[in-house]
Amino acid sequence: MGNVSVSELRYTVGPSSYDSVGSKAMQVKKFLQDYFPSQDYLRRLGVCVFEAEANLAIHTTSGGDLLIVIYNNRVKVVAQDTGPGIPDIDKALTPGFTTAPEMARQLGFGGGVGLNNIQRFADSFWLESLKRGTTLVFEVWNDDSTQFDY
């Protein structure tokens, strides 16, 4: 039941696109209203997508791609970019640590807890990073018993 995806959404996030951070997350949340009625679930997912989107906008050389895979009981998000890579993943996962540029920090980004927020709200979390690119995959499961059926 749980392994056939029902739908997919794809977005491209441009580098330094501070003005649009959160726009994809909002679209995803709106799209999923018909699939998952739980507002609590949509917020958790929305937060994770927002943070993944913000990371692509703030920390990549050329932006990246967001793939949202919708199953009937969960959503999987794959965020991929082509560099510059995370030099120290342990540091990156330390709350408060940020490498966000000054410009980003003046706009309210760079709190240093983006990845931590995803870890907190997602049910699975996988991060791999090389100089040639970073891939982040996470899933947010819907605990609500009223799952939709397809």
Partner: protein, 120 residues
């Protein structure tokens, strides 16, 4: 506490009034950093006031993701028209006070608004 009362307490004007004008607000959260705000997930359907000094579009989007119905900008900052427009489209009320964040929080706290329980 109604929106109008909040405005009186912190000397705020309503910049964008399309939205849930009649709500009763009991809790507030203050932050300039979006990630800190995103950490707060309302457990019940309890309307929250977001207090911030950042006035860009991402603030409205953050509020939208979290279903926050009202944002109070502090420090009398200039709010770009795009921010107001996006808030209107998403029915998020925007208020602005000339007071700094510390004073705005202080006045509201004194008047009975509570903080969100935040746990890491």
């Amino acid at each position: 506490m109604k929106i109008n009362e909040i405005c009186k307490i912190v000397d705020a004007e309503i910049l964008q009034s399309k939205g849930r004008l009649n709500i009763d607000i009991h809790t507030a959260f203050a932050a300039d950093l979006m990630s800190d705000t995103l950490f707060i997930i309302m457990r019940e359907e309890d309307p929250l006031l977001l207090i911030t000094g950042v006035t860009n579009l991402s603030v409205v989007r953050t509020a939208s993701i979290l279903d926050i119905p009202a944002v109070l900008f502090v420090r009398g900052k200039n709010v770009p028209p795009e921010t107001i427009q996006l808030a209107e489209q998403n029915e998020i009320l925007l208020l602005r006070s000339k007071h700094i964040m510390f004073v705005s929080c202080g006045l509201l706290y004194q008047a009975g608004i509570q903080g969100v329980s935040w746990g890491m």
